[in-house]
């Protein structure tokens, strides 16, 4: 497959930390508009892969292309974020001493220079977009709450809202339902499917129930490379996947 037809293109990527190969000759391709679930045991390299895509970690070898033409290994986190890649962390990371609304204000796409921030005034358009997102993430009644006072699930949602505010082409979502109740998990699956209609999404998740609800192509990672790829049923019937991940 050629890089130029894809949204995200990883080919032969390797990275080691102190001799430990976290990512080993990993190749993965994501089409525009696709949602993909990544599963795999602890230490399979899922989070490291996200670090490479978002510029936090530089690979030792291999190609990483975004939009078919941008070499992500040449850019840092801030530049990659502005190219249109948003990232949700494993542990919900919101700005706890800011209100829900201010969290979204900070995430909202727009100029990012210090000077423009010093004299920034909110436009009607921006206010409207924040209103929309607050509604989407069901936090419109809590806009003045400090993020610190939200429940765990609400923080996860706020972080997803911040990703939406960033208006990215590609969302990387790391374990969005960890610590959520069953009802919240189902709602989150619904929300992600909704988001995936207009953007590409890469979800890392352990919760097989949730992955089934997403109903998308699944990639299983193991020891830093792809073990199996296909529909959830196909992957979960793979003998090697059962052995290393799903349990004997």
């Amino acid at each position: 497959m050629k890089a130029q037809d894809t949204l995200l293109y990883l080919d032969g990527v390797s990275v080691s930390f102190d001799g430990f190969r976290a990512i080993n000759n990993l190749s993965l391709v994501l089409q525009t508009g696709e949602m993909r679930a990544i599963i795999g045991p602890n230490g399979a390299g899922k989070t490291t892969m996200m670090d490479i895509i978002t510029g936090k970690t530089k690979p030792d070898a291999g190609d990483v292309y975004f939009n078919g033409e941008v070499d992500l290994t040449r850019h840092d986190e801030a530049e990659i974020a502005l190219l249109g890649i948003g990232r949700k962390f494993q542990k919900p990371t919101v700005f706890e001493s800011h209100t829900v609304e201010d969290n979204l204000v900070l995430a909202l796409s727009g100029p990012r220079s210090a000077f423009s921030a010093l004299f920034h005034r909110q436009s009607a358009n921006e206010a409207e977009r924040i209103e929309d997102i607050l509604y989407t993430i069901r936090l419109n009644g809590k806009r003045d709450w400090l993020a610190a006072n939200l429940s765990h699930g609400q923080k996860q949602w706020l972080e997803i809202g911040m990703l939406l505010a960033q208006d990215p082409k590609l969302l990387l979502v790391d374990e969005p339902v960890a610590g959520m109740t069953d009802a919240e998990t189902a709602e989150t699956a619904k929300l992600l499917r909704e988001i995936a209609k207009t953007r590409s999404v890469l979800v890392v998740e352990h919760d097989m129930h949730f992955v089934r609800e997403l109903d998308v192509k699944v990639t299983c990672l193991h020891e830093g490379s792809v073990l199996a790829e296909g529909s959830l049923d196909f992957v979960s019937n793979d003998q090697r996947v059962i052995e290393v991940y799903l349990g004997r």
């Binding site: 936090k56 001493s97 900070l106 006072n149």
Partner: protein, 392 residues
């Protein structure tokens, strides 16, 4: 119009502080100059200078709070910027002495004659002009902070490591300024000042005017800090403090934001130093002492970091305590200071102002519960601070 503009950038507490500072900038000099010495409201000149000195410390504390309280950069070397501003002012004051020095050289300050120097070093030129010196008061600390910050923040030096190199910075300057051939008076520093802008520096009127200038600059610093913190840029800074990598993944160039606020803060510290020197009458390398910078951190912690106003209260209270204890019980002052730091860290993590804030939220909470309506979970003021995090 102007009041409306003012209050979009300053909260109520900041407004009160600014009003109070402007008021004492007027009232203290009036009391000192107009009331007879027998009047109980008369403030003697020595006290005017003493409080003026405290207010310069308060200005340093506000500068430090801007980077530490709001952006999480714990500087243990802010005294360096303070001292550099002080030296710039000291150089102007030295040049004003002119031929009235002990050696009566029309151009060279006494210590240069003593060292047998024949001509003024290049970096002393221009300092006979007040406005040039005033420019250097902000430019020199600002340029040093910019260069230092550019290197440190781009290399992502954070937490304890950054604190240690700021400490090293001020210590290196201490050693450099001790050397006679640096050209800043060595061990003795700069002193024996005669006048400032043509006015006798010892005169009561000059002292009062210096006091007024200090109070006004402090009010200005409160305004500038409030302006920055209440802007979107301020929200970015707090975001950097609480979750730096999150900010990066949102597309913000964290290093530039840090560099901006770090440089502004260093300039404020420089102004504080420049106001300090004419009021105490001397500047010497001991101002670069690392312990001074650490003491400034204590003022901010005591008053309440991340509150803008708290550091002013902290600086004034701790220094009143210092003045009293070092006179009454000189041997226990350092123990008292150490105990204060431990007590504040253990029992008052948000400082005096934070204590007041949580007391008010508690009252509001109780009142709300009485009314049987759910309390809004927003703290009254922006005093919420996350647990201190170890460097990554």
């Amino acid at each position: 119009m102007i009041t409306q503009w003012f209050f979009t950038h300053v909260d109520r507490r900041g407004g009160i502080a600014i009003a109070l500072l402007v008021a004492i900038a007027l009232l203290v000099p009036l009391s000192n100059l107009l009331l007879p010495q027998t009047s109980p409201l008369h403030i003697p000149t020595y006290l005017v200078s003493l409080i003026g000195k405290y207010l310069t410390y308060a200005l340093l504390a506000v500068a430090l709070d801007l980077v530490w309280g709001f952006c999480g950069i714990l500087s243990l070397g802010h005294g360096a910027f303070f001292a550099l501003g002080g030296y710039a002012m000291g150089m102007y004051l030295m040049r004003q002495i002119g031929p009235r020095g002990v050696y009566a050289d029309p151009v060279l300050p006494d210590f240069m004659v003593f060292l047998n120097w024949k001509e003024l070093p290049w970096f002393w030129h221009g300092f006979d002009n007040f406005w040039f010196a005033a420019l250097m008061v902000v430019l020199v600390p600002g340029a040093l902070a910019f260069g230092f910050g550019w290197l440190a923040f781009r290399s992502r030096v954070t937490g304890v490591y950054l604190s240690i190199i700021t400490q090293a910075l001020t210590y290196a300057l201490l050693l450099a300024f001790f050397r006679n051939d640096m050209g800043f008076g060595g061990n003795n520093g700069l002193t024996d000042f005669k006048d400032i802008l043509g006015f006798n520096i010892q005169a009561g009127t000059t002292r009062s005017m210096l006091f007024a200038a200090t109070a006004l600059f402090l009010a200005l610093a409160v305004f500038v800090s409030s302006f920055i913190i209440r802007s979107k840029l301020g929200k970015v800074l707090v975001g950097v403090r609480d979750a730096e990598s999150r900010m990066r993944f949102l597309g913000y160039r964290v290093d530039r934001y840090k560099l901006f606020v770090w440089t502004i803060s260093a300039m404020m510290a420089g102004i504080a130093g420049a106001l300090y020197v004419p009021q105490v009458g001397i500047i010497n390398p001991s101002e670069f002492e690392p312990a001074n910078s650490i003491e400034a951190v204590i003022w901010v912690a005591v008053g309440g970091r991340g509150t803008i106003i708290g550091p002013i209260i902290g600086a004034v209270l701790v220094n009143f305590g210092k003045t009293y204890f070092t006179a009454a019980f000189p041997e226990i002052w350092l123990f008292a200071l150490g105990a204060l730091f431990i007590i504040v860290t253990l029992f008052l993590p948000k400082g005096i102002l934070g204590l007041y804030g949580s007391w008010r939220t508690k009252l509001a909470d109780r009142a709300a519960r009485k009314k049987d309506s759910a309390p809004p979970p927003v703290a009254a003021e922006n005093v919420h601070l996350p647990e201190p995090q170890a460097a990554e």
